[in-house]
């Protein structure tokens, strides 16, 4: 008898930080649909006007469910750059570069900057949204079949 043969060939989905993104699994699936179109969106309350981030299904100010999808800027200005050279999480490249990005006054976001070498990014640089595919996630279908859930995610990259 071997140890954990039940895991042979299976994918431990809960160890993946990317959420399932389709309508069947996620009530904010529109965020990911819009992301595929190159849009960076979030929810805004139609009753009290609060713009939330991250997007959600109720307004955290007035608890209304009456929400709209609105666009956030897809470009911003770098305020602070960090370059992680040791201890980068599995699945990310070394050095892992992050920046505190001012999305044109709408949001200050601490995000990953890709397609960028160490020493390249400086405060004041302009960055833009970068959308990329990530590994699809196998999920169980109705008759035991395995369906691959296609997924995308985003980071930022330097403007040309």
């Amino acid at each position: 008898m071997e140890g954990i043969s039940i895991l042979d060939g299976k994918y431990a989905a809960t160890m993946d930080m990317y959420p399932l993104q389709s309508k069947e699994f996620n009530m904010i699936y529109k965020f990911y649909d819009y992301l595929r179109e190159g849009r960076f969106t979030t929810t805004k309350c139609k009753d009290c006007g609060t713009r939330s981030f991250p997007p959600r299904i109720i307004c955290e100010e007035c608890l209304s469910e009456n929400l709209d999808w609105v666009d956030l800027p897809t470009g911003g200005t770098v305020k602070v750059v960090t370059e992680e050279v040791r201890g980068v999480p599995i699945g990310f490249d070394d050095p892992l570069i992050h920046a505190l990005i001012d999305l044109d006054g709408e949001l200050t976001y601490f995000a990953r900057v890709i397609n960028c070498q160490a020493g390249e990014l400086k405060p004041g640089d302009r960055v833009k949204l970068a959308v990329f595919p990530i590994d699809p996630l196998p999920v169980d279908g109705r008759k035991g079949e395995i369906i691959k859930q296609e997924r995308v995610f985003f980071a930022f990259e330097k403007e040309d």
Binding site: M17, F53, V85, G87, V88, I90, L100
Partner: protein, 390 residues
């Protein structure tokens, strides 16, 4: 009628990279705690709170409190549950025990906390921690381990207030020196200012000794009503005087300020008000030095010095033994290590010893003391004030 509550015993396992299981570590800590109070047996404990954040991920064990109760021979009658607030899980357990005893729901509660993080494989630690932040939004940006966030904080604090890399390094030098004579800590090695400044980069400007390590370990304390405390111990009574715990945001995009920790100021104000003391009354403190920059900002936002003066506070020796408020007298996270659920409890043990006059690095005449934890992505802050007087 609300009752007074005392911290009457404490003990910890060896902290470091351990060849042991989670339950081994909790047994070591529990025994050390019971050994600290010979008149009280495991049968006298009527409540158990277990603080652990990564028990499911790293030990595949939920329902942890009854496991630990069974191993320690404790048969709780009034509370037996686990508490989780990542780096502040232990302090959260102490606050809950304080409230339960104060309200008369339990009389004698053990709060035990710790983590076995280096398991099953050592490299997994750096993946596991993606669960510490907002998993869907910050974890997906690779912001699991905290150094990038604290590098960003350090850069902004340096720019805004003129804090220097030397001042950051001085925090590490002090805490490593304080931890030299702490046999249970992860490190008993001094670091010179030169070594700290020339150490390898982690996330510039943070270098190796600016960052606390990842640690396996556990720690335990016992809290009791004043009446029970007098029955079980002849040592000077150490009262819990007040606490505060605050959060204003979780995800990084919603942080109100990176260089002034607003939630810390709220938690501190609550604790000072409830305890009826001022920052200037604090004789000794254990603060959350997960990174050197953290301790510097904590001096400021706990009110030990003016905003922006944290760098000068360490440089002028105010937080060293003999200074106005000695901070992290047992070595802090930088020297003892940081098994999340254990940290707030280790801090409580050191404060208890300081107020009983039994600390290794004793602050003479200490009567009022404070512990502070931050947790997550600088997302929550926990402050507890202890004292010889109530």
């Amino acid at each position: 009628m609300a009752r007074n509550v005392c911290l009457i015993a404490g003990g910890m396992s060896h902290w470091g990279v351990r060849q042991a299981t989670q339950r081994d570590l909790f047994q070591e800590a529990g025994k050390a705690c019971f050994d600290n109070i010979p008149a009280l047996s495991n049968k006298d404990v009527d409540g158990l709170l277990v603080a652990s954040a990564y028990t499911e991920r790293c030990s595949f064990q939920t329902h942890l409190a009854p496991v630990i109760a069974e191993y320690l021979g404790i048969k709780p009658q009034n509370i037996c549950a686990r508490v989780e607030l990542l780096c502040a899980s232990g302090s959260s357990g102490i606050i809950l025990a304080y409230g339960l005893i104060k309200a008369g729901i339990a009389d004698v509660i053990m709060v035990i906390g710790g983590e076995m993080l280096y398991t099953p494989q050592r490299w997994e630690v750096q993946y596991s921690e993606l669960a510490s932040v907002d998993h869907d939004w910050d974890g997906t940006q690779g912001l699991g381990l905290p150094p990038p966030a604290f590098s960003m904080v350090a850069q902004q604090h340096m720019q805004k207030y003129g804090t220097t890399e030397e001042q950051l390094a001085m925090v590490s030098v002090k805490n490593r020196r304080n931890g030299l004579s702490n046999p249970k800590g992860q490190f008993q090695q001094e670091v010179t200012l030169e070594e700290a400044l020339n150490a390898r980069a982690i996330v510039p400007p943070l270098k190796l000794y600016d960052c606390c390590p990842i640690t396996d370990g556990a720690a335990a304390v016992i809290l009791a009503s004043e009446e029970k405390a007098k029955y079980y111990t002849d040592k000077p009574l150490v009262y819990v005087k007040g606490s505060g715990q605050a959060t204003l945001n979780n995800m990084s995009a919603n942080m109100p300020s990176w260089t002034t920790w607003e939630a810390l100021k709220i938690a501190a104000k609550q604790a000072y008000t409830k305890a009826g003391v001022q920052p200037s009354d604090i004789d000794v403190a254990q603060t959350h030095d997960c990174f050197t920059i953290s301790e510097i900002i904590e001096y400021e936002d706990l009110g030990f010095c003016e905003k922006g003066e944290g760098g000068h506070f360490i440089e002028e020796g105010h937080s060293d033994i003999g200074g106005t408020v000695p901070v992290n007298t047992d070595g802090g996270l930088l020297s003892c290590g940081h098994p999340f659920g254990g940290t707030g409890i280790r801090q409580g043990i050191e404060i208890m010893k300081q107020l009983q006059g039994e600390a290794v690095k004793q602050v003479e005449g200490a009567r009022t003391a404070l512990t502070h934890n931050l947790s997550g992505f600088i997302a929550a802050h926990t402050v507890i004030i202890y004292g010889r007087d109530i």
